[in-house]
């Protein structure tokens, strides 16, 4: 089976500071990868670079997504091609209603594939269906994007958008942060419902907790801009128990930073 995502020796910097120092990662359809690592290791940067955040500059390496050169695509085309980023901090957009926002998103994707826009009734039906997956309140759907949403509501809204857009590869950036246990279960449940043999998920997380709900096939440890360790689900348990110090020690030859 060919790889869905193939990252080779990816280097990226922000404001002249190199954050990613040679990432290699291959993700195949049907797989769930977890990327763990201490704060500041480059986890969120990797997610941002893959999504096309203009704040980051790619200085080397390549990323192939479904056979296409991902790095040459605009953020919106990456989305159309099936990449989805669930933000660690979803952005509030006052004055733009969820409905208008989602309608624009869904219809632009359809336009990209030369399809007619959805009719108003089909669109609302789709909204209803997908809302149910993460138990997102109808009231939230009629408000401005993320405005005044609680932390849990924002994360649920991310997974709702993921359900609407049906991506091939979802990157969940610290989706567990700021969630209580019930919200975590709902959000993880939503992700699991959307999982098929044809799509893949990259779960970026600091803690093992989320991985109790979203079972990874592979766990990678990112440290100082490189993947320094890869293993099965058991690696996450070791990290939970022993923390990251032993990784740092192994990698740096010293204890801590």
């Amino acid at each position: 089976m060919t790889a869905m995502l193939e990252i080779k020796d990816l280097h990226a910097q922000v404001e002249g500071k190199e954050i990613l120092k040679g990432i290699d990662l291959t993700v195949k359809a049907g797989e769930v990868h977890a990327i763990m690592g201490p704060n500041g290791s480059g986890k969120s940067t990797l997610a941002s670079v893959l999504a096309g955040n203009p704040a980051f500059t790619v200085t080397g390496g390549s990323v192939t997504f479904n056979g296409k050169d991902l790095l040459s695509l605009s953020p919106e085309d990456r989305s159309h091609e099936g990449l989805f980023l669930s933000f660690q901090y979803p952005v509030e957009i006052p004055g733009v209603s969820m409905v208008n926002f989602m309608r624009a998103a869904v219809n632009e994707k359809r336009k990209y594939f030369h399809q007619e826009p959805l009719s108003a009734s089909d669109f609302l039906k789709l909204m209803r269906e997908k809302r149910a997956i993460v138990e997102l309140d109808n009231k939230l759907a009629s408000r401005s994007v993320n405005e005044g949403f609680s932390g849990g509501e924002k994360k649920r809204n991310e997974i709702f958008q993921m359900a609407m857009l049906e991506p091939r590869l979802s990157i969940l950036d610290e989706t567990d942060s700021g969630l209580d246990i019930d919200a975590l279960r709902t959000v993880a449940g939503g992700v699991n419902k959307l999982k098929t043999d044809n799509n893949a998920t990259i779960v970026i997380t600091h803690y093992q907790r989320l991985l109790d709900y979203i079972k990874p096939d592979l766990v990678h440890v990112l440290y100082k801009g490189r993947i320094v360790k890869t293993g099965g689900p058991e690696l996450a348990l070791v990290l939970e128990e022993k923390g990251y110090d032993w990784i740092k020690q192994e990698f740096d030859g010293t204890k801590g930073e």
Binding site: S74, P75, S79, H80, P90, A104, Q161
Partner: protein
């Protein structure tokens, strides 16, 4: 040597012809206007409250004037409902600066309500015009004086006491000429005690390549306990230079809403001057300006709280793209002895390109204790984070900008107290940001402007 001189010379030479093609009530003020202009000049760039607009320069070119009131061949084959269709209004036209009445709606106004030409007014209308014309706009203002000297026609809207006009009165101003033209228009609105009315004024330019200097003076009298809405919508061409000066006077317990909207224009200077002269009056002064290309939009406002116990709320918002220039200067004055005044002013702006410029000067002048007043101004850019967030959802950069700019204007649109117009305006603003404004067959003007909107 001021640009005024060519107009005073014109009047000295052709005054008789100007008078002959106007009416005695308008002619009555011309000598006073001429005297007021003696030795004066128009505000020039850099004068106080004219930081970016130069009226001397705007009035300097040699424009033609239609002093003999020759009929313009306006195209009325299709009813021109400008860009606000599906809105049931009593519709009237002014072609260039000549009143052309309605032809569609006669007989639908409530009894006693008058909508009339200022030039061809009947006896009853002339009486009202004679009483109010020039009584609200001060003739010592050179802009007002110049308009008073030259204006030969315009519209009177008169709503007698305790009369409610349900249907909005819509005035469509169309500019159309073969060569550079100066138009001088006058609008007089008298809403007597306890009466209610709404008015929508739409400015369009049909010949987009022709230079226009379009001056207007609007006088609005809002009687005791009366309610009046005035929506002032400009959707003109890049060659239209508009100098508009609105003067309103409010009596006790009255409620006035003014919403000035610049969707498409060339160079615009709007003055909104409101005097609140009676207690317990309410005032809403709203405005929005959307600029792209090399559009220039300058709004100057003044709200005078001359008595106590009144509320005013002022909000102006601008979105400027490309090389557009915007200016806002606004003053709220709370006169001595005006207790319990509440007055708020806000001006918020987005410069969507690096080259767009916004100049803002909010002012409060308070001479009474025991008041609640506030003001603020902001200039910012489109939210980059929100842009990226939307793009990751597949929304194109262009569409994301459109959504954000549209969202920014939502509170000014929400301030419209006429539901059909509110919906219509939301749609117009959406189209304006999407770059597809004014595709209606009657208006070729805006189509020429599309080219200027950066995709």
């Amino acid at each position: 040597m001021s640009a005024i001189n060519q107009y005073t010379d014109l009047y000295r030479q052709f005054g008789r012809r100007i008078d002959a093609a106007s009416s005695p009530v308008l002619n009555a003020l011309r000598q006073a206007a001429l005297a007021a202009l003696d030795g004066r000049r128009l505000p020039a760039k850099g004068d106080e409250n004219y930081e970016v607009s130069d009226l001397e320069a705007l009035y300097a070119p040699d424009y033609g004037l239609n002093i003999d009131r020759l009929d313009v061949a306006a195209d009325t084959d299709e009813p021109f409902r400008c860009d606000v269709p599906n809105l049931s209004t009593s519709l009237y036209y002014i072609f260039n600066d000549m009143y052309h009445g309605s032809g569609f709606t006669s007989g639908t106004l409530p009894e006693g309500v008058m909508v009339s030409s200022l030039r061809n007014a009947d006896e009853a209308a002339s009486k009202i015009i004679g009483k109010y014309y020039g009584s609200i706009a001060p003739i010592d203002d050179p802009q007002v004086a110049l308009n008073t000297l030259l204006a030969q026609d315009g519209i009177l809207v008169y709503v007698p006491a305790r009369t409610v006009v349900e249907k909005p009165i819509q005035l469509v101003n169309l500019l159309r000429a073969a060569g550079p033209l100066m138009t001088n228009r006058r609008i007089l609105v008298v809403v007597e005690a306890g009466a209610q009315a709404k008015m929508l004024v739409c400015d369009h330019t049909q010949t987009a390549d022709v230079d226009f200097l379009n001056t207007q003076v609007v006088e609005i009298y809002v009687g005791e306990g009366a309610t009046f809405d005035y929506y002032d919508l400009e959707e003109a061409s890049g060659h239209t230079h508009r100098v508009s000066s609105l003067w309103a006077r409010q009596e006790a317990g009255s409620n006035l809403l003014i919403n000035g909207i610049t969707l498409m224009n060339g160079t615009t200077r709007n003055d909104y001057h409101i005097d609140i002269n009676g207690e317990r009056a309410e005032t809403q002064l709203l405005g929005m300006a959307i600029g792209s290309g090399s559009q220039h939009i300058d709004n100057h406002t003044y709200i005078g709280h001359n008595v106590g116990y009144c509320h005013s709320n002022e909000l102006f918002k601008y979105v400027l793209d490309d090389d557009a220039v915007g200016a806002f200067t606004g003053k709220i004055l709370v006169a001595p002895g005006s207790p319990r005044t509440e007055a708020y002013q806000s001006n918020r702006n987005i410069c969507a390109s690096d080259r767009a410029r916004m100049h803002t000067k909010p002012q409060l002048e308070i001479y009474t204790d025991d008041v609640k007043c506030g003001h603020g101004a902001t200039v910012g850019q489109l939210d980059e984070e929100a842009m990226f967030y939307m793009q990751t959802r597949g929304i194109s950069c262009h569409e994301a900008r459109t959504l954000l700019m549209q969202a920014f204007m939502s509170d000014v649109i929400d301030g419209v107290r006429l539901e059909a117009l509110r919906d219509r305006l939301r749609h117009l603003v959406e189209k304006r940001f999407a770059g597809t404004l004014a595709q209606c067959r009657s208006c070729t003007a805006a189509q020429a402007c599309h080219a200027k909107i950066k995709k």
